[in-house]
Each structure stands twice: as structure tokens, then as C-alpha cells.
């Protein structure tokens, strides 16, 4: 129990360190949110108006004081309000985080549905035409940047074929069919990299499992080939695949920005980008804090699960 408590303590410490670094970094970068907002469109704002806005936003307080009030806010579960439109940061995150999670989940679903069967087949028919073509395709998918794929998808499906809207978002409750149509292309763009990762990982892992002793034993005791494949090979092979997939999904939390931008998907990355551009300090810090807290939580859960399964970790 002491080990778990220590591990949780370290995680909280980590989140605090990240929050502090982000807070200091964004404040130290040149640029003044009040000035920027009133300068929108390339015009010169009235200096009196800028001074008034700075004062109203609390930007004239000493940095240490802003930091303390930020930390005490976080402890109370208050991330402050946007400097641009005074909207509560926490509400913005709660509104947008589920959309980013949905996008990542949809991409992961595509990756699993395509990558695992294809990877297994490629491993079983190692060296065949399918294996070579699929492996080549996977390398290509990994190499082509996501904004190229995104733009091509829009060009083909929205502009030429006109099967799909070019991008945007409609809440699920408002119009479920249109919601899913709009989800399809960005999910494909997110999924394309994941498919490649899952495919390669599955192929390697299945190849590895195929050469194991327990597979030989299973075959020797007369199990049908399909039963050997499903129960013994694929099940064992999937453990590393899922670990890698989970890790990739974690990094996608802050990494969907290009896809969200290209498809106008109003997830969490877009406001982060906007907030950095506008020097909207509370928004930047709030979003990065959320993403890092989720990442730390993911790692913590994995650690605790491994520890529960393997006592050696607890006593190391």
C-alpha cells in the first residue's frame, strides 16, 4: 500500500511540475494578450484601452501573485477564465475533450479492425504478395504526413466525389447520421498512422508467437489450425499490440491538432493552438495541464495494474 501511495504522490508532483513549467514558459514568451486581442486585423489599438484591458484581466499583478492565485485555483478545481472572451477554461475543456477522445477512439477502432486482421494474415503468409504489398503500404502510411492525407481525403471525398462534407461538426444528439459522416474522414486521417503501427506490431508479434513452443505443442496435440491461431497465437500476440496502441493513443491527446485543423473538428487541440497564438495564458495552462494529467493518470493506472499482476515490481 505504501508503494502505491508513493507512486500516486510522485504522479501528483509530476503534474504540479508540468503545470508550473507551462505557466512560467508561456508567461516568459514575448507577446501581450491584451495588446494582441485589441490589435486583431492588423490595427493599432488605443493605448488607454490596452492599459484598461490589461488591468481588467489582472495582467498587471506581479507574476508570483498570478502564480499563487493560479495554483490555489487549481486546488479548488478552478482553471480560471479565458483572457479572450472570459469563458471558463474548465467548461471549454469539458466541452471539447470528449470530442478529441471520440476522434482518437474512432481512429483506434479503425486501426484495430484493419490492422490486426491484416497483420495476422501478413504474418501467416510471410513473404507472400499480400505481405509485401501490405508492409509497403504500412511504411507509406507512416511516412506520409497527416495533413497531406487529410487534404487528399477532403479533395477526393468532398470536392471531387462530393460524398462527404468537407469538414465541421454537428453534435451527436442533433443529427446522429451527419455527426458520424463528419467523423469519418478525420477518423480515417487519425487512423492511418495507427493502422500502420498496429499492422506492423501485430505482424511481428504473431510471427514471434508462431515460433513459440506452446504453439508447437498445441499443434502436436491435434488442435485445429484455426483454434491454434485464435486461442494461442493471436491472443498471446495481442498483449504488446494493445500496449503500444494505448501509448500511441496517449500521445494523440495533444497530437490531433493537424487533423482537427484540416477537418475543422472542434476538439481540444484547436483551442490550444489558438490560445498559444493569442497568449491566452489560462487557456494554454489549463489545456496542457489536463492533457498531462490524463497522460500521468494513464501511466499510473498501468503501473498499478502491472504491480498488482507482478509482485516483483512492488518490491523492486
Amino acid at each position: 500500500m505504501g508503494w502505491a501511495a508513493r507512486r500516486i504522490g510522485v504522479s501528483l508532483l509530476l503534474v504540479w511540475v508540468v503545470a508550473s513549467i507551462v505557466f512560467l514558459a508561456i508567461h516568459l514568451v514575448p507577446g501581450d494578450p491584451a495588446e494582441l486581442l485589441l490589435s486583431s486585423g492588423g490595427v493599432a489599438p488605443d493605448p488607454g484601452a490596452v492599459a484598461e484591458l490589461r488591468d481588467r484581466l489582472g495582467l498587471n499583478l506581479p507574476l508570483a501573485q498570478q502564480y499563487v492565485s493560479f495554483l490555489s485555483g487549481v486546488v479548488r478545481g478552478d482553471l480560471g477564465t479565458s483572457l479572450v472572451d472570459e469563458y471558463p477554461v474548465l467548461d471549454e475543456i469539458l466541452l471539447r475533450l470528449p470530442r478529441t477522445l471520440e476522434l482518437i477512439a474512432a481512429g483506434a477502432l479503425i486501426a484495430v479492425l484493419v490492422g490486426i486482421p491484416a497483420g495476422t494474415l501478413a504474418a501467416l503468409r510471410r513473404g507472400s504478395a499480400f505481405d509485401r504489398i501490405a508492409s509497403g503500404l504500412a511504411a507509406l502510411l507512416l511516412a506520409v504526413p497527416v495533413f497531406v492525407v487529410g487534404t487528399l481525403l477532403v479533395l477526393v471525398f468532398a470536392q471531387i466525389l462530393r460524398w462527404m462534407p468537407a469538414g465541421g461538426y454537428v453534435p451527436l444528439a442533433e443529427d446522429p447520421w451527419r455527426h458520424l459522416t463528419l467523423l469519418a474522414l478525420p477518423a480515417l486521417a487519425i487512423g492511418k498512422g495507427l493502422v500502420a503501427v498496429v499492422f506492423r506490431m501485430t505482424r511481428a508479434s504473431v510471427l514471434d508467437a508462431l515460433s513459440r513452443d506452446f504453439v508447437r505443442t498445441a499443434r502436436a496435440k491435434g488442435l485445429s489450425p484455426s483454434r491454434v491461431l485464435m486461442r494461442h497465437v493471436v491472443r498471446n500476440a495481442l498483449i504488446p499490440v494493445l500496449t503500444v496502441l494505448a501509448l500511441h493513443m496517449g500521445t494523440l491527446l495533444g497530437g490531433t491538432v493537424l487533423v482537427e485543423y484540416v477537418f475543422n473538428w472542434p476538439g481540444l487541440s484547436t483551442p490550444l493552438l489558438r490560445a498559444v497564438e493569442a497568449r491566452d495564458y489560462p487557456m494554454v495552462v489549463g489545456i496542457v495541464l489536463t492533457i498531462s494529467a490524463l497522460f500521468v493518470l494513464l501511466n499510473l493506472v498501468m503501473d498499478l495494474v502491472y504491480a498488482a499482476l507482478d509482485p516483483r515490481i512492488r518490491h523492486a
Binding site: L38, S40, P45, L155, L161, R162, A166, E277
Partner: protein
């Protein structure tokens, strides 16, 4: 059937005809879908929060005046206006204008608005200008008499700005109640705004549309894709690289004007740039055609003098070409200023916007031809603004548009007595120019005013407090079926949202 290469090619060529019925969003009668370039950060009436917000403000608010599609002033909440002497302006309100809460627009409302804008704790764009009001009289509920501290001929232009929307004095805090043709019904934060027509709008028969859906597309290519896919009917900020393909497509109309412009700024507090001859040499050395090609795909025109539009009454064909490309003259001026072999300097722009970066690159090459070695500094926009405001640069590239087509709007860019700003040169005072600009602002005689601005242009050519580079084309694109929408002339392009009250579709 065997799959042959020929069959595949044929199938590929047939793809565009394979459109699934019903996959596209269907048009609803009376509803126009408008693709904005950004989601407006706020639609509070008086503060500047960018051009996308301006479009929304022009839909939900109205000021005393506005402009017609020719760029002439026209009445809105005020049906008549005139000056009484040099300092007083009288606005006569129309009898039938009502706010969205149904209450009439009265002189007391207008007075209250002007007081709020000028207030000490105001963040309004026209705060300083409205602080120039000495007193506001409301002899009756339809008459507003504004007395300025000093004569201002451009007050009506200020009143026509989209930053001067008038709201009910009974508006709850933070929820301004306007008198425009549309009302915001709902919004999907960061994504879209739904507006419906206001049934008691003071212009009979307007707005023609029943509803408007504004959808933000930050990515310019996606904005074009959304138009081509039929997701939206009208888009703003058409990227220059897409203009040709939209023009060639018979399903769409492209409406462009040369309005905003690019120009150079200088830090005149030190080094060679403090010398007007060096700045003039730079002005003569720039290959402006290359800027129009490189930054705007040919969609613009060279700007070789003070930024005054060719259709303006203040335009002078000769003076507007005062900085014609002439590298020999540039070298001569440099030598005269004591730099026959040039010097080293730096150019500040931003990598965040392609047009700023591409412009800076052409300037860099042009300067190299006359021996000036300039290093490019391309931080993000926020840093660029901050460095500009603090004078931490030598030469800077900027792009802007004036508040209206009156040359008075240029004071902001050339008046060195104003506080330091990234839109003005740093530490560069030209007292003669400041005098002329102030004189012109107070001159009610049009012929005399034209003469003053002619003098001002001569001083600008000589002193080069800023150096014009290129006009850039500002474009709207729309489906053929959209009628009544018009890109307003010159720097009023960003006012085009006002024509949405006369826009119809189908």
C-alpha cells in the same frame, strides 16, 4: 469482366459523376450558410476583435451611419446628418428604428453609447476619438447634437464604423441589445452561429434572408473545399491561390477588391534608417511586381506611394507613382547618404502568415541588389507584434487596412506623435506631415482638403515614414444562386457584411 488498365482509367474518369444523392447538406429556402475565417472571439459592439467579428457585428448591430456599395456614407439609425459650424454635428434619428427588445432607438440611447465608448474604463476602438467630444445635447428624442473639442470633418466616417454599433441603454451587462437586421438565436461555441431575421428591422422588406448560419473554417483551403462541396454558400478571405480555380468554375462567383496593403516600417532611433535618404533609397529599390506575384499569386497591384485608392477623390496619378522601381536612383541616394557599399540590417516579419513572410523575402532580395544585406527575423505573430510595439527591430513588414477610404485613416500609420505601435515606424517624427494631417482633419472645404493631402503625399514620398509595397486583393466567393452580396470598395471590404441584409439565395 477482366480488370484492365483501360477499365480502371475509365472508372477513374467517371468518379466525379458518381455523386450519392442526399450525401450533401440540402439548401433550406431563405437560409444562407457563410464560411467565416475565424470564430469571432466576441461580438461586443465597440472593441476591435478582428474582421470575422466585424461581419457578425454588422449583422446584429447598426450605428448612426454606414456606407452604400459605392462607398458613400448613408444613414442608418440616423436618417440625416449635417455639421453646424466646424465643431458641432447634428444627427436626426429615423422614427421607426427599434432595438431587438422592441424599444425605440432614442437620442438618450445614442448619448449613453457615446459616453460608454469614451469612458475611462472603456476598451472601445474609438475610445480616444470619442474622448474628443466636448458635450452631447439631446434637444428631443430624435435629435443628437455632438459638439467636438476641436473641428473634425471625419466624424461621420467614425460613426459609420462597425465598431460604433449602438445598443440599448437598458442592455443587461455583457448582453448588448442591438438594432441590426439579424438576431443571434444560438451558437455552437468555437464552431458556428445561428442567426434569424429581426422582424421589426427598420428597413421595409429587409433582411431578405430568413436565417443565416455562420460556420468558422480557420483553414483557408478547407473554407474553399466547403464552398466547392456545397457545405456553405459564401466564403470570406478567399486564399489567393484558389481564386483562379473559383473563377473558372461556373458554379461560383468571385468578388474581389484591392483594399488592404503591405508596407515597410523603420526604426529611426539609430543607424542608417534614421536618414530619410536611406529610407527613400529602399522605397526605390523594391521590386513590387515580384511581391504581388510571390505573396498574392498576382492578385494585387504595386503600391508606389501613400496608400490612397485610385478611385478616391484624393488620388493623384503622378504622386501615387513617386516610388517607382529605380535601382540606379536607389544606389545614388545610398551613396549620397554615405553608404555607397550598403550596410547590414534586419527585417522583422512573421512566419505565421505566408503573405508577410513572402513579402519579406522579396524585400530582402531587392535590398541585396543595392548592397543592403538584411537578415530575416520571422517569429510568431504575437512576438512580432510585441517586438514592433517596443521598437525592437530595424526594418519591419506589416499588412493592414485603413478604417475607411478617407486618407485621414492613414494618420494612424504615419503620425509619429502617437504612442509607439507595431503599425507605425518607431521613433520617426515628421512634424510637417503631422501638421498637414491635423489640418486636413479640420478642413471642411473639399478642394482645400484635396490640396492638403497632395502636400502630405509629397512629404511622405520625401521622408518615407512608411514605404508602400503592394495592394492585396481581398475576395469573397459565393454560389451562383447568391444575389445581393457585394464586396465593398477599397478598405471598406471588411464592411461587406452589411450587404447581407440585401442578400438572397435561390
Amino acid at each position: 469482366m477482366r480488370t484492365t488498365r483501360r477499365a480502371l482509367i475509365a472508372a477513374g474518369a467517371g468518379l466525379p459523376f458518381l455523386r450519392l444523392a442526399g450525401a450533401q447538406a440540402q439548401r433550406t429556402p431563405g437560409l444562407l450558410r457563410f464560411g467565416l475565417s475565424a470564430f469571432p472571439p466576441s461580438v461586443q459592439p465597440w472593441a476591435n476583435t478582428g474582421t470575422a467579428a466585424a461581419t457578425v457585428k454588422l449583422l446584429i448591430h447598426r450605428g448612426l451611419l454606414s456606407y452604400d456599395t459605392q462607398g458613400n456614407l448613408r444613414g442608418e439609425l440616423a436618417e440625416e446628418w449635417r455639421n453646424e459650424g466646424a465643431e458641432a454635428w447634428v444627427f436626426r434619428l429615423r422614427p421607426n428604428a427599434v432595438f431587438h427588445n422592441g424599444e425605440p432607438v432614442t437620442a438618450s440611447d445614442i448619448k449613453w453609447n457615446l459616453e460608454q465608448i469614451a469612458a475611462e474604463r472603456s476598451t472601445a476602438y474609438y475610445r480616444a476619438e470619442m474622448q474628443g467630444i466636448s458635450r452631447i445635447e439631446t434637444p428631443d428624442e430624435r435629435t443628437v447634437r455632438i459638439v467636438m473639442k476641436s473641428p473634425v470633418v471625419t466624424l461621420p466616417n467614425w460613426m459609420a464604423s462597425y465598431h460604433m454599433g449602438m445598443v440599448s441603454r437598458r442592455s443587461p451587462a455583457g448582453q448588448p441589445i442591438g438594432a441590426g437586421p439579424f438576431v443571434i438565436r444560438s451558437q455552437e461555441r468555437g464552431t458556428s452561429l445561428d442567426l434569424v431575421a429581426f422582424d421589426k428591422y427598420y428597413k421595409p422588406g429587409l433582411p431578405k434572408l430568413r436565417a443565416l448560419k455562420l460556420v468558422a473554417y480557420a483553414d483557408e483551403n478547407l473554407r474553399v473545399a466547403a464552398l466547392q462541396a456545397g457545405d456553405v454558400d459564401l466564403i470570406e478571405y478567399v486564399p489567393w491561390q484558389s481564386m483562379a480555380s473559383i473563377e473558372a468554375d461556373e458554379r461560383f462567383k468571385l468578388d474581389t477588391v484591392d483594399g488592404p496593403f503591405m508596407y515597410l516600417l523603420f526604426n529611426a532611433t539609430r543607424g542608417p534608417l534614421a536618414d530619410a535618404r536611406v529610407r527613400r533609397a529602399i522605397a526605390r529599390a523594391i521590386r513590387r511586381d515580384d511581391i504581388v506575384k510571390a505573396a498574392f499569386f498576382g492578385r494585387g497591384s504595386p503600391l508606389e506611394g501613400m496608400p490612397i485608392q485610385p478611385n478616391s477623390e484624393f488620388y493623384d496619378p503622378e504622386l501615387s507613382k513617386g516610388w517607382r522601381y529605380d535601382p540606379a536612383e536607389a544606389r545614388r541616394l545610398l551613396a549620397e547618404a554615405g553608404h555607397p557599399n550598403g550596410f547590414s540590417t534586419s527585417i522583422l516579419a512573421t512566419a505565421q502568415y505566408g503573405m508577410h513572410k513572402n513579402t519579406a523575402e522579396v524585400v530582402q532580395q531587392s535590398l541585396a541588389d543595392i548592397g543592403i544585406q538584411a537578415e530575416l527575423r520571422l517569429p510568431d505573430w504575437a512576438t512580432r507584434v510585441s517586438l514592433g510595439n517596443r521598437g525592437q527591430y530595424e526594418i519591419a513588414v506589416n499588412g493592414t487596412s485603413t478604417d475607411n477610404n478617407d486618407p485621414d485613416g492613414l494618420s494612424n500609420l504615419v503620425n509619429g506623435s502617437l504612442s509607439p505601435s507595431y503599425v507605425r515606424s518607431y521613433g520617426l517624427r515628421v512634424p510637417r506631415l503631422e501638421e498637414l494631417m491635423a489640418q486636413a482633419r479640420a478642413e471642411f472645404d473639399r478642394a482645400k482638403r484635396r490640396e492638403i493631402y497632395r502636400d502630405a503625399q509629397r512629404v511622405v514620398l520625401e521622408e518615407a515614414p512608411i514605404v508602400g509595397l503592394a495592394w492585396r486583393s481581398q475576395g469573397y466567393a459565393m454560389a451562383r444562386e447568391v444575389t445581393g452580396f457585394k464586396n465593398m470598395p477599397g478598405s471598406l471590404s471588411f464592411f461587406s457584411g452589411i450587404t447581407l441584409e440585401e442578400t438572397a439565395i435561390g
